[in-house]
Symmetry: C2
Subunit: 326 residues, 2 copies
């Protein structure tokens, strides 16, 4: 079964780790082999200390590969911070984005390979090998090989200005009211090799509970992706990132507010309505109805407390999709 | 007193730390203020993992600033190697050049600042501030802001080929017979801002016991530097890097062999004879005579066992130079 998922960082990574756990726990002589393609958001990417950082790709690789800091949800387990301390001693900027020593190695080698002429797709594939993902039937690909960067237009006592998404998200904790997002490079970014094919040829397409605005919303903005989703014969099943109107983590509510969309599961489903076939919501949101009747609503507890609960949610989404296959 | 020194890595750094120790130990209300300008070899520079590494500058900064690994002579004290281990896990190349985590920070910030448009001179000055050198009257400047890289033509079972100096020196321990050195970019490299002035306006010019071929020899190859030394009114005093024909450390003998010069103190002095005024040799080399009588030969123990013995040697060289001042 060919599964394609569009994903951002922590929420997407935890859901997909659960999916993989689910797939691998039911595997065996009788299980159908699986093939999971993850199209990762790269709109959060940023150049720090001259190094190219792809936060969502790294969170996906570390989480699926067993190297993630469980406590943080991002970054490496058993991390140290000697490089960053030393950079601070030299007065290097910025200091508001914490990078650990092990994490630095990822950014160094990514930047090295990019500098040698490799595409982000090729780099990501090489990084994924170190985490053993190809052997488990998993491909991680960036949404595009073009540099795309999300900026946030904010207004405070310094006046109106655009800051990098990471500065808004990490430095300010999304507390500066966002007026809008400006995604530099998005309109002319070609889908990375294989992205449209992965959507077109999928048996099942999943939307994990990733941020609908700055993760999945950015992927959908890559020219051709939305049309491919509309045109795909595969059922598209999404998992709501909100429980009772609140993001489980992150700042989806602040992002939705910036684009004038209510922070509700139904409103998020509305963003996907032109290609969504089923929408999994938490029982806390029971009773919602979508304007267009064709999207099926299903309930199930959506709080990912651990790998097992994430596997249950992913299994439910997958079962839903399998049931919808033509 | 304005002192200018041309220097390579470990030998030069230890000598200059001794010089600074000597100057600071005689300072006080009656001592003349000193001003030490170090023109550093950058012909060893290399790009590793996409980061620009300036080994001689770093060895100078770490040694003078108190951050050096005493045991190695290069690299940082209390170093760890988590980044490099992780790079190895990703299959990043090369792995024969060991970089520690603290050292990585230097290369990251140097590369970042260079990428922002700063010159190597500006970067070096900013790095030196972190090591407190400006406050001690010390300026470290690269010989040039232009990229210059020394390559070594070797011949082995793989045939004749040119490899980077660091690959020859570090990876092969200078054991592959060198046929010649090719210094890419040297002939069109302009002296860094202040280099010629530091030579012209010096009261005293010192040549520490650095490698005469691949450290001082490279600096002398920068167009204008040798003429400035010939034209300077300051006495030029050199310290032999050889004791009884042997380098105390490093591979000066292999480098001299490659350019067809005997591995002797007198032969090394011959390389500088057009601008050298006095040459300090070890008692083990007593009795040597230079072809040109104008270079004064002086004896003193040249083994730098610690900061104090290096200070004694530097003090002797300085006294020699002061005695020669017009």
């Amino acid at each position: 079964m060919r599964i394609t998922a569009l994903a951002g960082g922590v929420g997407g990574a935890r859901f997909l780790r659960g999916l993989l756990h689910h797939l691998e726990s039911v595997s065996g002589p009788d299980a159908a082999p699986h093939d999971l393609t993850i199209v990762a958001n790269t709109g959060d990417d940023i150049t720090l200390f001259g190094l190219r950082v792809s936060p969502d790709i790294d969170t996906l690789l570390y989480t699926l590969g067993g190297g993630i800091s469980e406590a943080q949800g991002w970054g490496r387990a058993e991390e140290s911070h000697r490089v960053q301390s030393e950079l601070a001693a030299y007065g290097a900027q910025p200091q508001w984005f914490g990078l650990g020593d092990l994490d630095f190695a990822t950014h160094i080698v990514r930047s090295q390979w990019l500098g040698q002429g490799a595409t982000l797709s090729e780099v990501t594939s090489r990084l994924a090998s170190r985490w053993g993902l190809p052997d488990r039937g998993v491909r991680v690909m960036p949404m595009t090989d073009a540099p795309v960067e999300t900026h946030v237009v904010v207004e405070d006592e310094q006046g109106q200005r655009a800051i990098h998404f990471q500065e808004w998200w990490v430095r300010h904790g999304a507390t500066l009211p966002a007026q809008r997002f400006v995604v530099a490079g998005l309109d002319r970014a070609a889908p990375a090799p294989g992205v449209l094919e992965a959507i077109r040829d999928a048996d099942v397409i999943l939307l994990p509970p990733s941020n609908p605005v700055v993760s999945i919303g950015i992927i959908l903005g890559i020219p051709g992706v939305r049309d491919a989703l509309r045109g795909s014969r595969a059922p598209v099943v999404g998992v709501s990132p909100l429980i009772d109107g609140q993001p489980v983590r992150g700042h989806a509510d602040a992002c939705l507010a910036a684009i004038g969309v209510p922070s509700t599961s139904v409103a998020v489903a509305g963003l996907y309505e032109d290609f969504l076939d089923a929408w999994l919501i938490d029982p806390a949101d029971a009773g919602i109805r979508l304007p267009r009747a064709r999207v099926a609503i299903h309930q199930g507890p959506l709080l990912m407390r651990d790998v097992e609960s994430a596997a249950d949610i992913a299994g439910a989404a997958l079962a839903l999709a399998t049931g919808l296959r033509p």
